[in-house]
């Protein structure tokens, strides 16, 4: 309970929001403070005020700050049973649509977007899909677009893929070169990557599926309410919303307009 530091953090976030338009003011405070402490160490400054001076006057420092404020820990087929449930319960619904629009909100470096593309490919639906993958952070979005991931992760991802019900050989989806796994270019043929900030931007289309997993946990309740409203507005009737393993729609503004597809699997269908 360092009162001065709390004030300094408020001033920093206020400055960044007003000058640059990146709004972290309604991020969940406890984990945000940890990330700010990490930035202080990395930048070698002692106080949040000193960091503020640097972030506001040095564009390169702002880039580092933005990258450090968002959490970009992800994995292919993360929570494999989520994908398994998606395949068994959601894919049959999607088969009835001639064209399927999917929004992956907060896609980070893209591992889960490629996972979904692979799943849809194996379901025979990918040609009918358009995936909009968005993130507020241009740097991670560039990584996502490249579709190149560390080769030493492939064993873990292969295990996840198999647990998720993957029916083919995972290695066919990438080429290995120089410690890197370069994912097949055709996998991104139906993916549009673009910058979108859930804290400040609005709805931009209507979707049959929206995935927003482990993104809203970094927001406070006010910002969560805003985002839930945005997702609800962007989802077609009977569209599907997927959130993270420890997230639920309980106590969110539209909880009664969704029905759980499978209990405990964090997949919901908009019913009104």
């Amino acid at each position: 309970m360092n009162e001065l530091e709390d004030i300094e953090i408020q001033l920093l976030l206020e400055g960044v929001a007003r000058f640059y338009g990146y709004d972290f003011r309604n991020y969940a405070l406890a984990s945000l403070k940890r990330r700010i402490a990490n930035v202080l160490r990395a930048e070698g400054v002692k106080t949040v005020s000193a960091l503020q001076e640097r972030v506001l006057h040095d564009a390169a420092c702002l880039e580092r700050f933005l990258l450090a404020m968002t959490v970009n820990v992800t994995a292919m087929f993360r929570d494999p049973h989520f994908y398994l449930t998606f395949m068994t319960k959601v894919v049959p619904l999607l088969r009835t649509y001639p064209f399927i629009r999917i929004w992956h909100a907060g896609c980070s470096s893209g591992e889960e977007v490629y996972s979904m593309a692979i799943l849809l490919h194996e379901a025979g639906l990918y040609d009918r899909c358009r995936i909009y993958a968005t993130d507020m952070n241009a740097a991670v979005l560039a990584q996502a677009k490249a579709g190149i991931f560390a080769l030493n992760k492939m064993q873990e991802y292969t295990n996840n893929y198999l647990k998720a019900g993957g029916s083919q050989s995972f290695s066919q989806y990438y080429t290995a070169a120089y410690e890197r796994a370069i994912f097949r270019p055709w996998l991104k043929e139906h993916i549009t990557f673009s910058q979108h900030n859930l804290a400040t931007d609005g709805s931009f289309n209507e979707f049959n599926v929206i995935l927003c997993r482990n993104v809203m946990i970094y927001f406070n309740k006010d910002l969560q309410a805003r985002v839930h409203h945005l997702l609800y507005e962007s989802l077609s009737l009977f569209g599907v919303l997927g959130v993270g393993q420890a997230e639920s729609l309980k106590f969110t503004p539209h909880e009664h307009q969704y029905a759980e597809i499978v209990s405990g699997e964090r997949l919901y269908r908009r019913i009104s």
Binding site: M1, N2, A28, L29, A30, S31, K33, R34, R35, V71, V73, N214, M216, I217, Y218, K221, Q224, G244, Q245, A246, E247, S248, K250, F251
Partner: protein
């Protein structure tokens, strides 16, 4: 000073220790309890089920932004850090700390920051140094530091690491920690001896 929150960290051997501790708390225990037990990242739900058998208090895996309520035992879910904000729990998937997610340090440091001297921090058995920094943060903020007596721990590494980093207010076997908590929770004992 009255206490508002109990945070507990346990690792190797923790299942038995945590079950014993929870089993020693009365059904009307008056403080919220938050626990990080190191666990496998795909062990959803199983831990809560096992601990519920031992506990008179309801035990659950935390959902994001769940309210912090007295008499409820909240577990860090598998593969997430558990953090405390004033009145609500928050989760994070940030990188593991000391190879652990959930991390005891992350829970304890956030509790110290949000609740200051109103926190009771407890380190139990384990084969890791996780929790030592967090318990020091609780102590530095004026909270109460409790460590399982290493001689009684299934694995003494974690309690010993905690004792190296902080002068604990109490070093006790697990059943005595339950008795202490019961007294503190009932407001019978307000100042550390």
């Amino acid at each position: 000073m009255t206490f508002e929150l109990v945070v507990i960290g346990a690792s190797l051997g923790g299942l038995h220790a945590v079950a014993t501790l929870l089993g020693g708390l009365p059904g009307n225990f008056g403080l919220p309890v938050a626990i990080v037990q190191h666990r496998h990242r795909e062990s959803e739900g199983a831990l809560a089920t096992v601990l519920q058998r031992a506990s008179k208090l309801p035990v659950c895996d935390v959902e994001d932004k769940q309210a912090i309520r007295s008499g409820i035992v909240c577990l860090a879910p598998a593969d997430y850090h558990l953090l405390v904000e004033r009145d609500v729990f928050a989760l994070s998937t940030e990188a593991p700390v000391l190879y652990s997610r959930p991390s005891i340090n992350v829970l304890f440091e956030s509790a110290a920051d949000a609740y200051g001297p109103q926190v009771i921090g407890i380190i139990l058995t384990g084969a890791s140094a996780d929790g030592a920094d967090g318990l020091a943060a609780i102590k530095a903020a004026g909270g109460l530091a409790v460590v399982q007596d290493p001689a009684t721990a299934e694995c003494r590494v974690m309690p010993e690491a905690a004792l190296e980093s902080v002068v604990a207010d109490h070093v006790l076997p697990v059943p005595a920690i339950a008795t202490l908590l019961t007294q503190l929770g009932a407001g019978e004992l307000k100042v550390a001896p």
